[in-house]
């Protein structure tokens, strides 16, 4: 029999109690299996970022540019409307709960790459009223359906990592095109009024490629190993090995979201 963690037990009994008022079987299925369920998973994608190796601005720039190119991410200059998939934040803002009064200033100011954590227990999926964002059963990626999203931005209120961006205006004029007016990639551009975020390059994974940011970092001399991507279900994958052998942290673990982006600091 599958061993249940205390969290899962509490959640299921809670869902059941709620269900007494509003349809137990329905609530139980939607609260437990569609969000938490890892039962049918074949893979569990994860990323490890080596903060020290990613200190080089060239590495982080390469990551960002590759991501923007591959995913047609617009470059909107206004920070209030900027679309962010992978970007820099200072260590003290990213790991605000893991610093103290005597953390060296140099570390506090170190830029850290951040992106969607593809949580095991994603709050954004829990709150979305249309299932426009969901956790893909087969590999744990938090996906977005841009055609279903109604643009209510509930997911943005729920995300503890500010990893989601809303298209306040039509993003297409802000996606750099080539001389013939073509967008950099085949990946569909978005319309205004929908939320978007990193999807671990699910379209590249389908073709057997790794996420563009990871590829770009590793191709750059000196950037090897700054970002590592792999399958947590495979004990021999590099991410599994790093997590086993090195000391890693992830963001705001006390919230119980179960981030799948880890950091070596």
């Amino acid at each position: 029999m599958e061993k249940k963690s205390r969290r899962e037990f509490l959640r299921e009994t809670g869902a059941l109690a709620l269900g007494l008022g509003c349809g137990a079987p329905l609530v139980a299925t939607s609260c437990t299996s569609s969000i938490r369920g890892d039962a049918g998973a074949e893979r569990k994608w994860a990323m490890v970022i080596d903060v020290e190796k990613a200190k080089d601005p060239a590495v982080r720039k390469a990551c960002r540019e590759a991501c923007e190119r591959v995913n047609n991410v617009p470059s909107i200059p206004d920070p209030n409307e900027e679309i962010r998939w992978i970007w820099d934040e200072k260590y003290h803002d990213v790991f605000e709960d893991q610093i103290h009064d005597y953390t060296p200033a140099e570390l506090l100011d170190t830029p850290v790459l951040v992106l969607c954590n593809h949580c095991t227990n994603p709050p954004c999926v829990r709150v979305c009223p249309t299932q426009a964002t969901w956790k893909r059963e087969t590999d744990g990626i938090i996906m977005m359906d841009m055609h279903r999203c109604i643009g209510c931005r509930y997911c943005m209120a729920a995300c503890p990592y500010a990893a989601r961006s809303f298209n306040w205006r039509d993003p297409r004029p802000f996606v750099p095109t080539d001389a013939d007016g073509n967008f950099p990639s085949e990946f569909p551009t978005r319309t205004r009024g929908v939320v978007e975020k990193c999807n671990f390059c699910s379209h590249r994974l389908r073709d057997g490629l790794i996420p563009a940011c990871v590829e770009a970092a590793n191709e750059l001399p000196g950037g090897e190993g700054a970002l590592v991507f792999g399958d947590l279900m495979d004990p021999d994958s590099e991410v599994s090995r790093i997590l086993r052998e090195q000391r890693t942290i992830s963001r705001r673990v006390s919230l119980g979201t179960g981030p799948k982006v880890f950091y070596i600091v």
Partner: protein
């Protein structure tokens, strides 16, 4: 009965004219938003909900507060509310419609809003909120229409309506509870993630809603022959006094937890509200105004001779409504986003377009309210003269 809405004096048409001006302005503002997107609002990647969701929150409370006349009348047979109940239900109907419109104008893709029902998602509080609000609207429409029709015919209401009325009582509580759950279930937002949010919402709703009802009753008896009665108004004032005092207590409980524990995450939001955080002081004047209005109105409400003096009651009710509106319609929503999960503080100020849309929605709500009350008054006036 309905034709009464098309007959009226200069004052009536003037009032309708005011609402139409607001609605026209609102439609124009909304067309700007529809064409250009939500970029025309003051909302940002950090503060993703603004004045619309805040008004929604405030008005769900107004809608729920109809229960404060329905419950005493139908459960406790409190006769004084006999002529007040229909006003409460009319207010609930127009408030729920405004709530729905405020959600609608906040959507990035308004044409897809039906996706919420096409893809029902039981783990989303927004889905439940939509059901709760829709159901509450239907309940109040049925109850209001059936009981008023019976009254008009001077017959007792049909017996089948009684269970529906009983259902509407917990349903009223549910709409504001589920609305609080929209916020209080988010681990990302410490300011909202407090178990007392739903009780607080209900307490403030039961203060602001009945206050509005008192004002409307005072206005109606000044300008029409219809009078809901001194007794009903004084009873409502007592309800306001209780609810407002409980609300102050709840806010105090919240402040204690934040201040005594001294945990930065809990403190930041209150610091931002009342003192400003790192030089960001956008809401400070609002919050102190709200605090002053609360203090003055609670004090006056607690003194029976002042509370029962209908001359003072009007201004006190205005103060209560303003205080709760500041609490929910200004402070509550925006502060949940401050600071953002990355420690960034972005102040929010609604744009003219947002203010225009907001006034337009209020215009629609008050137009509906005016029409409903006009029909009620007409029938009652005729019954008085008959």
């Amino acid at each position: 009965m309905l034709e009464a809405a098309f007959r009226g004096g200069k004052r009536y048409w003037g009032l309708l004219g005011v609402w139409m001006v607001l609605i026209t302005m609102g439609l124009w503002a909304w067309s700007q938003q529809y064409v250009h997107g939500l970029t025309v609002t003051g909302m940002t990647q950090d503060v993703t909900w603004g004045i619309y969701i805040a008004q929604f929150t405030f008005l769900v409370g107004v809608a729920a507060s109809a229960v404060m006349v329905v419950l005493p009348y139908y459960l406790h047979n409190h006769k004084a509310f006999g002529r007040m109940v229909i006003l409460g239900e009319g207010l609930a109907v127009s408030a729920v419609i405004m709530c729905m419109l405020f959600i609608f104008v906040d959507m990035g893709q308004p044409t897809r809003v039906m996706n919420v029902l096409l893809h029902p998602t039981l783990n989303s509080m927004m889905f439940w909120d939509m059901l709760a609000l829709g159901g509450y609207l239907v309940l109040n429409l049925i109850i209001g229409a059936v009981t008023f029709d019976a009254e008009r015919k001077e017959a007792p209401p049909p017996t089948w309506i009684k269970p529906i009325i009983i259902i509407s009582i917990p349903w009223a509580v549910s709409i504001h509870t589920v609305t609080a759950f929209l916020y209080s279930g988010l681990e990302a937002r410490t300011f909202w993630m407090t178990a007392i949010l739903a009780p607080r919402f209900l307490a403030s709703a039961f203060a602001s809603g009945p206050s509005l009802l008192i004002l409307l009753a005072l206005i109606m008896r000044k300008f029409t022959k219809f009078d809901p009665g001194d007794m009903a108004i004084r009873k409502l004032a007592l309800i306001v006094a209780y609810a407002m005092t409980i609300n102050v207590f709840f806010v105090g409980v919240e402040l204690f937890t934040a201040l005594y524990s001294d945990m930065p995450h809990h403190l930041h939001a209150f610091e931002y509200l009342y003192f400003g955080l790192h030089g960001h002081t956008a809401l400070v004047p609002w919050m102190w105004t709200g605090a002053a209005l609360t203090l003055v109105s609670v004090t006056l409400l607690l003194i029976p001779s002042i509370r029962n003096n209908l001359r003072f009651l009007g201004p006190i009710c205005v103060a209560v409504i303003a205080a709760i509106w500041i609490e929910k319609g200004v402070g509550m929503i925006v502060t949940g986003f401050i600071p953002n999960p990355l420690g960034r503080i972005t102040d929010y100020t609604p744009t003219m377009v947002e203010v225009g849309v907001t006034l337009g929605v209020y215009g629609i709500g008050f137009l509906l309210l005016t029409l409903i009350y006009k029909i009620v008054v007409n029938v009652r006036e005729r019954m008085l003269t008959a």
